[in-house]
């Protein structure tokens, strides 16, 4: 094996050298051809036209680091439309650089909000690192000292996250009441991350509940008995099982399987012949209440 690998390795340097040569030959042509002065290229010493200047320029202007960072963000977030994602990303960069003086709270909030929403919460590492970036952005108050994140900024950020989705206002308010900090309190990062995470998950939960309602009812309303049966099944599954984790997961899976749910819904329909209808808002409110009951309050 090792004997086979060696020649393959030895081939790499010549290839790379050829590639470098081609790039070096190609790069100076447009620069020399167009006599227009380029702002980024006007470097002291006039070394811009020397051999291998392209890579040097990219390094000096910070393009390499910037593009690498952008690629990293794309990989973390895996957006459905990478072009618009990148466009927004670079737009943010321009805005951030344009503001020469230290940004005020509104700008910092906007940047933090953008960071938090970059990656989905299921990409744990990406989400946590973005939350860290948001925490730093929020915390760096002006005048060269890190002010830290206080409860006021934190609550405002959470409020803005909740506004981005379709979660009912009551649910958002109730969630904020559980995870908020008081205005004067310094917010540790762990609490910050948890608060941001719960808000993001609440939005997704509300979206799921919305989709469930669409399945349960054809139009704008669904049978109350069906809704209550399904919600009760979910509540039972959430309350059940205090044992080991795998056992709890299996039990919930069995309780929420299609046949059990079909049975529960069928029984609910047979209870009373006359059924009232439940509105979408009411269903969302009841469903999100189940979720919020499981959120541990910050203390």
């Amino acid at each position: 094996m090792a004997a086979q690998k060696l020649p393959a390795r030895a081939e790499v340097p010549p290839k790379m050298a050829a590639y470098e040569k081609r790039r070096a030959a190609a790069a100076p042509v447009p620069a020399g051809g167009s006599g227009l002065p380029e702002p980024g290229r006007a470097a002291p010493g006039g070394g811009g036209l020397a051999e291998g200047s392209a890579a040097e320029f990219l390094l000096r202007a910070g393009v390499t680091a910037m593009v690498r960072e952008a690629l990293l963000k794309v990989l973390e977030a895996r957006p459905a439309e990478p072009v618009s994602f990148l466009a927004e990303y670079f737009e943010r960069l321009v805005l951030a650089e344009a503001a020469a003086e230290p940004p005020g709270p509104p700008q910092r909030l906007a940047r933090a909000l953008w960071y938090v929403c970059l990656a989905h919460h299921s990409h744990r590492t990406a989400f946590d690192s973005n939350a860290g970036a948001a925490y730093e952005v929020l915390g760096c108050g002006g005048r060269r000292r890190a002010a830290g994140v206080d409860g006021r900024l934190y609550s405002e950020l959470l409020r803005r996250i909740c506004q981005r989705g379709a979660a009912p206002a009551e649910a958002a308010a109730e969630l904020l009441r559980r995870v908020r900090c008081r205005d004067h309190e310094a917010v540790p990062f762990d609490v910050f991350r948890y608060g941001v995470l719960t808000c993001c998950v609440l939005l997704e939960f509300a979206a799921k509940a919305d989709a469930l309602f669409a399945v349960l009812g054809a139009g704008g309303s669904a049978d109350t008995r069906l809704c209550q049966a399904v919600l009760r099944a979910l509540e039972d599954a959430l309350g059940a099982g205090h044992g080991s984790r795998p056992g709890r997961y299996l039990e919930a899976g069995s309780r929420l399987g299609p046949d059990r749910l079909a049975l529960a819904m069928d029984q609910a329909l047979q209870e009373r012949k006359l059924g009232s209808s439940m509105s979408r808002e009411e269903f969302l409110r009841k469903a999100t209440a189940l979720f919020i009951a499981k959120v541990k309050p910050v203390e």
Binding site: E185, Y194, A211, L212, R260, L290
Partner: protein, 223 residues
Amino acid sequence: MSGAAGPGPPAGPGRSPLPCAPRPAAPLQLAGGAEAARPGVAVIDLRFPRGAAADVQEIVFRNFYTAFLSIRVQRPGPGGSQRWVTCLRDLCLMPCPHTEEGSQDYFCLHRHQMLCDVDQVTAMRFILRQPSPVWLHFTIEDLQIFPPGQKSPQKDFPSWLSQLTPPEQPASLHGELPDPEKVSTEVQQMWVLTEVIRARQAAARIGRFDVDGCYDVNLLSYT
């Protein structure tokens, strides 16, 4: 092979194996043979403490690369003497001795699979055979002997596990019932999201000392 051996857990809650001390597997040595020769046969001896006799209901163990297993037991024979009888002969644990299949499975041998009665047993000898030269060592592990009269662990399963399908099937579901598959998908995802919150709780605390917005006056100090 008969349905003799089946994988299963070593012991369930609510039943305890007989106390016994199996010796480590001893490879068969030929007289005058080289130390390094591997005869492909090993023996595990097992005695019950203080010479007590035991009734055997079930033998549970985990295989480790043994291909065939024979068991001999020492029982009281006619005239009060103890004699050795074979109660299991060449049970195949690995269908193909050269490959992995069955090599690390759990096996559970029941009384009715034995060739003779296994009451009043004072000693047992497990004879392990591995004809394949592929495996350096072979033995059986986690050996446990269970006496009769203990309930099977299957009784302790929660109802949702033993009845994976609902016990009563409705005669006919209503026609207007929404698609249970879709409902189940959405509800399960909602459950998972709640579980995410439960699993990733914050460990840090703000460290508040007040109760309902009021401080205990003893907590305040001039320093």
